[in-house]
C-alpha cells in the first residue's frame, strides 16, 4: 500500500539565512529504515520542485530515527529579503508530509491518523 508520509513520520523546519532545515522523524523505529530507503535527498528535492533552488544535503540521525534535510536556496534569500508570505519557512515542513511512501499492508494498524487515510490509501 501507499500512504502519505504524515501517517509514518512527523516533521519540523527551521531557518538559517537562505538555508532551511527540514527534519523528518519516524513515529516508530521500524518505520525508519523504510524512510531512509525511500526519502532520498534526490526525491526530497524533486518533491519540493522549484521551492528549493540549491542543493539538498541529507543527514541520517540514527539515534533519533530521523532524517535531517538541509536545503540551500529555500528561503528567498533569507528572512529579511524573502517575498514569501512565510518568511521564516516555518510552514515548509508541512509539504513533505504529503510525500508518498510504499509500505507493507501489515503495518496498517501502526499508522498514525488512520481515520484520516483517504479511500485510495486504504488497503
Amino acid at each position: 500500500m501507499k500512504v502519505q508520509l504524515q501517517h509514518l513520520a512527523h516533521a519540523r523546519s527551521g531557518d538559517k539565512g537562505d538555508i532551511a532545515n527540514i527534519a523528518v522523524f519516524a513515529y516508530e523505529p521500524e518505520f525508519y529504515p523504510l524512510l531512509k530507503a525511500q526519502l532520498t535527498a534526490e526525491r526530497f528535492k524533486a518533491f519540493y520542485q522549484g521551492a528549493i533552488t540549491g542543493q539538498v544535503l541529507r543527514y541520517e540521525v540514527d539515534n533519533l530515527d530521523a532524517l535531517n534535510f538541509v536545503c540551500h536556496g529555500a528561503l528567498g534569500g533569507g528572512v529579511s529579503r524573502s517575498l514569501c508570505l512565510d518568511n521564516y519557512g516555518k510552514a515548509l515542513s508541512a509539504a513533505v508530509l504529503g510525500f508518498e511512501v510504499a509500505l507493507p499492508e501489515a503495518w496498517f494498524d501502526k499508522l498514525r491518523g488512520r481515520h484520516l487515510l483517504t479511500r485510495q490509501e486504504r488497503p
Binding site: Q6, H7, H10, R12, G14, D15, K16, G17, D18, I19, N21, A23, F25, F47, Y48, Q49, G50, A51, I52, L57, Y59, V61, D62, N63, L64, A66, N68, V70, G76, G77, G78, V79, S80, R81, L83, C84, L85, D86, K90, A91, L92, A94, A95, G98, R112, G113, H115, L116
Partner: protein, 451 residues
C-alpha cells in the same frame, strides 16, 4: 559537585508570550531564568529604528513588561536572570532594570551588562569574506548598517562570578545564555568540550521556549497534547556530568515527550554531528532520550568537540525595499478571476515600468506558502486572496505595488474585494550576511550597576 541546577526559559523570541515566564519564575523553583529575545534580524531592525527615531532605547521593547512579570518572584526565590534583551544597548537595558528593581523596592541588587558584540566600526578590518557568496566583506561597505558578533557564554560566567544577580547582554548565541549558568554552577572548564558540548545542547533544547514543551508541535489527528492554549516554557534539571531532564511546571498545557524533544533537538541544526556555537561544536549524534515520567525526558550522551578559532558575525546592509499588498475573490470562479487579476497586474507593472529585483503574485489559499511545490489541485478554492510583493531598489518603486493594487478597486474585474490601505505598504529591507572574525579580536567587557 552533585547538586542539580534548575534552569528555565523565559522567552524564545522578542514577540513571545509573557505569562509562561511569570509561571516559571513563580512555580519553577529555578536557580536561573533565561530570556532569548533576539532573532537573526532583530539587531539590524533595531539599528534601522534608531536611525529613524533617536529616542528609541535600543533594547527589547517588552523589557519592562517581561521584568515586571518576573522580578518579584525571582528576587523572592533567589533566581538569577540571564537575558539578551540588551540588543544594541545592553548598558541602557541594565540601567532600566535597575530602575525597575528600585520601583519594586529591591535595593542592592547587582546587575551586569555584557557589551562588545557590536563591531560595526571594525567589521571591515576584522572580517575577510562573506560566507554566503565568498565576496570580500569590504564590498558591503557602502550599505553597511550594523555588524554584531555572536559572543559565547564566558563573559556571562564572569559576570555571575562577580556576583551579578541579573546579567543582560547584547548579541550572544542562543544556547550560550543557558550554558553560562551550568559553566558557573558546575565550574566547567571552557575548554572541556564534552561538558560544554552537553551544556550547549541542553541550551539548544531550551532556547526556543515552548517548542520543546508542545509549541509548534500539535497536528490534529496525528499528534496531540493537552491544553495547547496553555503552554509552559521548559525547565532543565541539569547534572554536573552534562545530563539533564527536560520538564515543565505541573498543571500547564502541552507536554514534554520523546517526540517534542527530538523535534527541538534538530531545529535549525544542519549537520547534527557538528553544530557550531561560539563555545563549542555540539554533537547530537550520540544523544539518548528516555521518558522517565509524565513531562519528564532524560537526555544523556550529549557531547561536543573543540570550539573553532573564529566567531560568527552578522552584517546588516541596506538593500532596498519591499512593497506588498493584497486583494480578494470568493465564490464560484474565484480562482479564475484571481488568475485574470494577476494578468492585469503584470500588464500594469509593465506600463508603469516597475523596476523590481523580484516580484511575486501569490494566491493565498493555493500556492503562497509552498510555491512551486504546491500539488496541482482539482478542487477550486472558495476564497482566494491575491498577494502581490516586489523587492525593489528604491522606495518609489516599492510604493507602485500598493498604487497598482489600489487601481484594482474600480479598474479591475468583477467581484474584487479590497481593504482600505490603513498603513504603509512598503518596508525597508535589511539584507543579512555572515562572516567570521578571529575570536581574540572581539573581547567582551562588562559593566556593573546596583539598584
Amino acid at each position: 559537585m552533585n547538586q542539580t541546577l534548575r534552569i528555565g526559559s523565559g522567552a524564545a523570541w522578542w514577540g513571545d508570550r509573557v505569562e509562561p515566564a511569570a509561571l516559571n519564575a513563580e512555580h519553577g523553583a529555578l536557580d536561573y531564568l533565561c530570556f532569548e529575545t533576539m532573532a537573526e534580524a532583530t539587531v539590524s531592525a533595531a539599528q534601522v529604528r534608531l536611525r529613524r527615531d533617536s529616542s528609541f532605547a535600543g533594547y527589547d521593547t517588552y523589557l519592562d513588561e517581561r521584568m515586571r512579570a518576573v522580578l518579584p518572584a525571582c528576587m523572592r526565590h533567589g533566581t538569577r536572570i540571564i537575558s539578551n534583551q540588551g540588543w544594541i544597548n545592553p548598558t541602557g537595558a541594565a540601567e532600566r532594570i535597575v530602575q525597575l528593581l528600585r520601583d519594586a523596592g529591591q535595593h542592592g541588587v547587582r546587575v551586569a551588562a555584557v557589551c562588545g558584540s557590536l563591531i560595526t566600526d571594525r567589521v571591515l578590518e576584522l572580517a575577510d569574506r562573506v560566507l554566503e557568496n565568498g565576496a570580500p566583506v569590504r564590498s558591503l561597505a557602502p550599505d553597511l548598517i550594523s555588524a554584531e558578533v555572536y559572543l559565547g557564554a564566558e563573559p556571562i560566567v564572569a559576570a555571575l562570578r562577580a556576583g551579578a544577580q541579573i546579567v543582560v547582554t547584547g548579541r550572544v548565541a542562543d544556547p550560550s545564555i543557558f550554558l553560562a549558568p551550568m559553566m558557573h554552577g558546575f565550574g566547567w572548564d571552557p575548554l572541556d568540550h564534552e561538558r560544554v558540548g552537553a551544556g550547549s545542547a541542553i541550551g539548544h533544547l531550551l532556547e526556543c521556549g515552548a517548542q520543546v514543551t508542545g509549541g509548534y508541535f500539535c497536528d490534529p489527528g496525528f499528534k496531540e497534547l493537552p491544553e495547547p492554549w496553555n503552554f509552559a516554557f521548559p525547565i532543565a534539571e541539569v547534572q554536573s556530568d552534562g545530563t539533564a531532564v527536560i520538564t515543565k511546571v505541573a498543571g500547564s498545557g502541552g507536554g514534554v515527550t520523546l517526540q517534542t524533544v527530538k523535534e527541538q533537538m534538530l531545529y535549525e541544526v544542519h549537520d547534527p554531528a557538528n553544530y557550531l556555537t561560539p563555545d563549542v561544536v555540539v554533537d547530537f549524534t550520540q544523544a539518548r532520550l528516555e521518558q522517565i515520567g509524565p513531562d519528564r525526558v532524560r537526555v544523556t550522551g550529549l557531547t561536543g568537540k573543540p570550539r573553532t578559532p573564529t566567531l560568527k558575525v552578522t552584517i546588516g546592509c541596506a538593500e532596498g525595499f519591499i512593497g506588498e499588498d493584497m486583494f480578494f475573490y470568493a465564490g464560484p470562479g474565484a480562482l479564475r478571476r484571481a488568475q485574470w487579476a494577476r494578468k492585469i497586474l503584470q500588464e500594469r507593472f509593465r506600463i508603469v515600468q516597475l523596476q523590481a529585483e523580484e516580484l511575486r503574485i501569490d494566491f493565498l489559499g493555493l500556492n503562497a506558502i509552498h510555491g512551486a511545490a504546491t500539488p496541482a489541485d482539482a478542487v477550486e478554492p472558495y476564497e482566494v486572496a491575491v498577494r502581490v510583493a516586489a523587492r525593489t531598489k528604491t522606495r518609489a518603486e516599492a510604493a507602485k505595488v500598493g498604487r497598482e493594487v489600489d487601481g484594482m478597486a474600480v479598474s479591475g474585474i468583477a467581484h474584487t474585494g479590497k481593504r482600505v490601505p490603513h498603513q504603509e505598504r512598503w518596508r525597508e529591507v535589511i539584507g543579512l550576511w555572515s562572516a567570521l572574525v578571529p575570536r581574540e579580536a572581539v573581547p567582551a567587557h562588562i559593566c556593573y550597576f546596583e539598584s
